[in-house]
């Protein structure tokens, strides 16, 4: 995932999490998704295309996403992705487990401070 060494690899499931959260705001096409994540994260996170498209297909297969024909901002034909009800449920589960994990990590790190 890292294009240069300053960025860290995402943990498993993180990319899906961000895709679901982004698409929950509004349905988007692929390029818009990349730009959205980049902007929202202040350029801290950059989604690599090589990971994005396989991930989208996996999520379509799982039924978390739906795709439909649409046009981009420039009027080119593309496919718009939206979150399904199953996707939302999955997102909520993942967010809560992510939060628990994050809280745990934070506490461990806090104790370790000298």
């Amino acid at each position: 995932m890292a294009k240069n060494s300053e960025r860290r690899d995402l943990f498993p499931g993180a990319l899906e999490l961000m895709i679901l959260q982004s698409l929950r705001l509004r349905p988007m096409h692929g390029y818009a998704l990349v730009k959205h994540i980049k902007q929202v994260s202040d350029n801290l996170l950059e989604v690599e295309e090589g990971s994005l498209y396989p991930a989208l297909q996996r999520m379509l297969r799982e039924g978390w996403l739906d795709s439909e024909a649409g046009t981009s901002a420039k009027g080119r034909p593309t496919r718009i992705y939206r979150v399904t009800a199953a996707g939302l449920r999955h997102l909520e589960q993942e967010v809560s487990s992510f939060e628990k994990m994050f809280a745990g990590i934070t506490r461990v790190l806090a104790v370790a401070q000298p």
Partner: protein
Amino acid sequence: MSMLALFSRRRRYDDLSVSIQEHIAERADELEAEGMPRAQAEQTARREFGNVGLVEQRSREAWQWPALESILADLKFIGRRLRRSPGFTVTVLLTLAIGIGANTAVFSVLNSVLLKPLPYPEPDRLVSLTLEAPGAEGLSDFINGLRLSASMYFTFARHNRTFESLGVWMPSTANVTGLAQPEEVHSEMVTDGVLQTLSVPPLLGRWLTAVDQDPKGIKSVVLSYGYWQRRFGGDSSAIGRSIMIDSDAREIVGVMPRGFRLVDQDFDVLLPVAFDPQNEPLAGFGYQGIARLKPGIPITQADADIARLIPLWMDSWTNGPGTNPHWYEIWRITPALRPLKQAVIGDVSQVLWVVMATIGLVLLIACTNVANLLLVRAESRQQDLAVRSALGAGRGRIARELLLESVTLGLLGGVVAVVIASEGLRLLVAVGPANLPRLHEISLDVRSLGFTFFLAVFSGLLFGAIPAFKYAGGHMRSIFSGAARTSSATRERQRSRKILVIAQVAMALVLLISALLMIRTFLQLRNVDPGFSGAPNLQTLRISIPDSLVPDDRQVMQIQSSILAELAALPGVSSAGFAEALPMEGIDPNWDEIRFEGKPDNNDHPPLRLFNFVSPGYFHVMGTRFVAGRDFTWDDNFDMRPVAILSENLARETFGSPAAAIGKRFRQFSSMPWQVVIGVVQDVRHNGVAEPPPFTVYWAAMSANPYKANTIHAPRSVTFALRSGRAGTQAFFNEVQQAVWHVNSSLPLASVQTMQEIYSKSLARTSFTLVMLAIAGSMALLLGIIGIYGVISYAVSQRTREIGIRLALGAQKSELKWMFVRSALVLTAIGVVVGLCAAASLMQLMKSLLFGISPLDPFTYIAIPVVLVAAAAVASYLPARRAASINPVEALRAD
């Protein structure tokens, strides 16, 4: 995969492409907006996106069973590569197809004959009622242990506790008249219980039962499907009609279904035997018994049951007034029940396993050859494989592709093999080795096809494993360093091929030794004097004269002698005679004890001797030499003089020399007049060349019946033998038939064959094994030679540069040649040593198939290695000569 799924997948893939194209276009737009020229912007957008094909492929994998689809892609690639080298492909496919095909064919035989259950319901409960009589000395010289008598049948059937049903039967022949020409048909005399035991319902009508067995009751017959089709055109109104069998009118009461055989017998008609239920003698041990066990009863319990009934049998029946029914205790008759299948298969199982093993070895050798070819091919692909490995293809991926290629070759070979095998089986069934049981059941079934599939995959993996193991490995970087170009083939690279060659030589040696042992066995058998000569010029035919046609025994003899006179007068016939049984016909005419005058027997129970009944001149026709004394005359016959002829072994054993036997007297029992020995003839191998000649007493064809005062014994079924240069021709047969019908037009001719055919049939097991092993051996030798040639030839091509250097430095050409030949001979020598050790132990398994030579026959164990080493020398000399003719300048400049 359903059409819908495929369609929706296609749509998914299109969606994906659209998304990606738009993604790149939008990025390009953005870059252009930032001030980049359009062309550069597009290029940059593409570069940033990365490998579109790869991303698409990985995205598509979300919808796929990835392993399968990439295997399909590999298969396409393999198909393209194989098409590009047709020479390699055809060689490999043919080698495999022949190897696997031969295995499939032999396995089908093995499967149909040995493994498949008998074609009767619940065949596991069927047993063959066989008896042993270790106390009856001489009995083992005859063809089949002790069979059952009619009285035994009644005792066993009435009093057993372990059988659901039980019956006895005897193959016979019958004359059918009134339908077309008089015809001799193959009949089976069966009792109640035989068809019930086999449990195959009739196609029409009913089985033969106890009703049919009453001597005073109705006369009935059951037809085989084939006979019903032939004579009644499959007309179901045949039931209830009458046909004349042995001049008796018999009512057709049933037809058995197609393919039904009585144990191992094809028959035309089933006839009920007419035993007297009250009054049968103890003796008359001529019937084969079969029984169906009650469910859950083990064969040992049935054995005990029969053992219990044997004393009861002796208590219940008698051989006549004044005889001791318990006399048979001396014989120590014991039951030796066997599963029916075992009885049907007989001793053929060993032959089949040996053939299967040898053919399996041939396939192994073929596989090593193919592995060698694949190694060479993989070597030439080394560069390609190294590049792929450098680009990130894993070991597993490369190994998978190499294995997939070899398994594909194996499977393609398997498909061709099935064609070869089915043709081979058709041929085999058509040629029909006479004594192969269950020949008609041989077919390619699901199990054989499964076996073929297994072999195809297994051999594919086997010969593919070696290159896959070698070339999927990581040590290939050296290729880029150019090492391959400059150095000669390393030891490392040659080693696996050398091991393959050693294995090949060893296996070929084992096969060749087994083949030569069989050839020597065959020659030994051919050298045995069978007791007759000039077999190809001996025409034989069997004629039976039924009671109902000619009731008077004396008249039977007159008819037979008239036939003999007619036959002897035919043009081109030099002599003619007849006997109750010709050697190797598979008939034991009769047997009993005899007592010589003045020769007290040690235990009062002399051994059993084979009896045969012969016409005057019979020995002369057969070429059986007289060792002493004279032949029977017609007067001996018609006056029923008490004379007999002995076999040489019997005369020698009793009197020390044949001449001493002349004029001596013997009899069977005290109430019988003394019989005078008038002649002694050489021993005859009555039961086949490999069996010792039985001690035999020859009686005149017509003689006084010793068992019943004032009656005649004249066999009604006899085999005629004619010596003629025209034996075996159709024209001759027609004349013979006319001559017989000239005497009596109701007599059919049966078993028309030359003595040579009878002789060959008795050798059929050996010649079948011999042919199979010889084929396997020569295939092995050929494949082995090709293997050695291939390895040396490849070594030469790999070492061209080295040879060039050696030549340039002044090496002698003869030394160079010798260097290559020597390396081949070293491999061969190692293979020979390994093979000799293997052969010495494996050949013990073939012991019972051999005759007159040891499984460690020194000649064989010297000759075959010599042949192999010579072949290896030739096979390596050809490429070695090429090496020596290399031009050093060109060799160094090449590459």
